[in-house]
């Protein structure tokens, strides 16, 4: 039996479920259920394929029992149980290949800012010091893809179809995806046709703005004058489009932050 109660302002944060009762979130296509019993935590989730991708709402409720139809159900046993669970949104651990639904062209010398949305993962950890990571669950499992010049050379990434919107007002507010402003500057003499963009998710931090939308810092991609190299720059602060941003998670990989010079075909294709 599910009951609505004290809906928190965001789906992330710290939660302490009442004993033997479950907390249930519905975020995008994912339904996440957690329960704290004597000496153990139980976590279950399931995803639906029938959902409106532009739906930005989320639900939170308390149930007495775990549903029987869960895709996965895991138990974590502790001798000293910590009853506070922290949910943190995280970006992907692999690059995201964003494919515009319609490829676009950028003529020589042009600059454009696109808004690209990326799928999110939920990190479930116990509020110990340091935190005890239980598991990470993808809100919407993206497809795997390969990004490289051949099947011998390249890297495994996640694929994400995007509208590559250039108007911020058209952007749907969705709590299950993060938005990255991507500035592309074509300094080469030839037109740049963008079919796919390699977004380095592991290098991006995650911010929440006051309206609840999640953002990553701005990424600048500059196609060099010779056309063969691309410069990739990641800001170290929240994008200017956010109001009162709060840092939610640091980048997964901090070793390669800063300005990166990459081969053109490692960023665009």
């Amino acid at each position: 039996m599910a009951t609505e109660f004290d809906k928190p302002p965001h789906w992330w944060g710290s939660f302490t479920p009442p004993h033997a009762q479950s907390l249930q979130w519905r975020i995008g296509p994912l339904t996440l259920i957690v329960r704290c019993l004597d000496g153990e935590w139980q976590i279950g989730h399931q995803r639906t394929s029938n959902f409106d991708n532009d739906d930005g709402s989320w639900e939170f409720q308390r149930c007495d029992q775990l549903p029987e139809t869960l895709d996965t159900h895991s138990r974590y046993i502790f001798s000293q149980l910590v009853k506070q669970l922290t949910l943190t949104p995280r970006l992907a651990d692999r690059p995201i290949i964003s494919r515009p639904r319609v490829p676009f062209n950028l003529t020589a010398g042009e600059t454009v800012t696109l808004y690209i949305s990326s799928p999110l993962w939920i990190e479930l950890a116990l509020a110990t010091s340091p935190t005890t990571l239980l598991e990470e669950i993808a809100i919407q499992r993206p497809s795997d893809t390969w990004f490289g010049p051949s099947t011998l050379e390249g890297e495994l990434c996640y694929a994400s179809a995007t509208h590559c919107r250039i108007n911020l007002a058209e952007l749907p507010q969705r709590v299950h995806r993060a938005i990255t402003p991507v500035l592309i500057r074509n300094q080469a003499d030839t037109t740049l046709t963008v079919e796919r963009i390699n977004l380095p998710s592991a290098l991006l931090s995650l911010y929440a703005c006051s309206e609840g939308q999640l953002w990553t810092p701005k990424v600048t991609l500059i196609r060099g004058r010779d056309g063969d190299m691309a410069e990739l720059k990641i800001d170290d602060k929240a994008p200017k489009q956010t109001t009162s941003p709060t840092l939610l998670s640091e980048p997964r990989d901090t070793a390669n932050a800063g300005v990166l010079i990459r081969a053109f075909n490692a960023v665009f294709s």
């Binding site: 993206p142 497809s143 795997d144 390969w146 099947t151 694929a159």
Partner: protein, 285 residues
């Protein structure tokens, strides 16, 4: 008794004892230096080369250094090394003839290490045997098959035969073979297959799935649909996508035919005669 003591004193004061002592010291020194040098060499090189090569380097350098010290020790004892080397040459020819197979495997093992078609932990297929490489030894390669059997394959056969390394590249292609009935619309079938591949998260978006029409089969239109997966997800993708194809074909009323056999009576226009037989109750009465 005094003669016995005199012999001992003579021996102790002779050159021979000094030579033996020097030889023993050289051998002990050789053992220590060989141990230290081989360990140091393997730990320095171990960061750049795989564990198996590091092991070969360690053993090789150990025995090479030790042999040099043993030869020096023999020289100290007054052995004529040219005679010894000549004897060793004849001995190795004799051993070579006697153990042709082992020698061949040994040399093949060296080539395998140098060529490095696979390393420990890789999954390889040799003939009909597929398994994980447990070790690459001087004479043979040991595999653990997926039904948990231990298989020893001589190095010589690995050099001579075709070896497929299944775990070399991070992505693999699964070729899904299927047939649909002659009455079906192939464009519709292709669209369904592409939609299934698009929705399955284990199926790579790039390289794109490939649809190949294989031809007009005996009972069906034969199709190959090739999809790519991360190596670790290969079997999961194959299982899940076949299930999804079957479900989608059932929902869309696309027939997966079984072999058909048409019988004719000699004249295509003439149907088989149907004879109505009396039912059992009337027969028994």
């Amino acid at each position: 008794m005094s003669e016995y003591w005199r012999d001992i004193i003579n021996f102790l004061s002779s050159e021979k004892l000094w030579a033996i002592t020097r030889a023993v010291i050289v051998v002990i020194l050789g053992l220590v230096i060989a141990k230290l040098a081989s360990s140091g060499l393997s730990s320095i090189a171990g960061k750049k080369i795989d564990s198996h090569r590091a092991m070969v380097l360690k053993r090789g350098s150990y025995y090479l250094i030790l042999i040099l010290f043993v030869v020096t020790a023999l020289h100290q004892l007054g052995f004529n090394l040219s005679v010894l080397l000549g004897a060793a040459g004849i001995f190795s020819v004799a051993i070579g003839f006697a153990s042709q197979t082992s020698a061949s495997n040994l040399i093949s093992g060296l080539f395998l290490v140098a060529e490095r078609p696979f390393t420990v932990g890789d999954v390889i297929r040799v003939g009909s045997t597929t398994g994980e490489v447990l070790s690459i030894d001087p004479l043979s390669v040991k595999l653990r098959t997926f039904d948990n059997l231990f298989v020893r394959i001589p190095n010589e056969s690995l050099i001579k035969s075709e070896v497929t390394t299944l775990s070399r590249f991070p992505i693999r292609r699964a070729d899904l073979l299927m047939g649909v009935a002659y009455k079906e619309d192939l464009k519709k079938v292709r669209a369904i297959l592409e939609e299934i591949a698009d929705k399955n998260p284990l199926c790579l978006e790039e390289p794109k799935p490939r649809y190949i029409f294989q031809g007009f089969g005996n009972s069906s239109l034969d199709i190959q649909f090739s999809v790519w997966a991360k190596r670790e997800n290969f079997l999961d993708l194959k299982n899940s996508i076949y299930e999804e194809i079957k479900t989608a074909f059932d929902e869309q009323d696309i027939e997966i035919p079984f072999p058909h056999l048409s019988l004719y009576t000699g004249s295509v226009t003439e149907p088989f005669p149907i004879q109505k037989t009396a039912d059992k109750s009337s027969n028994s009465s």
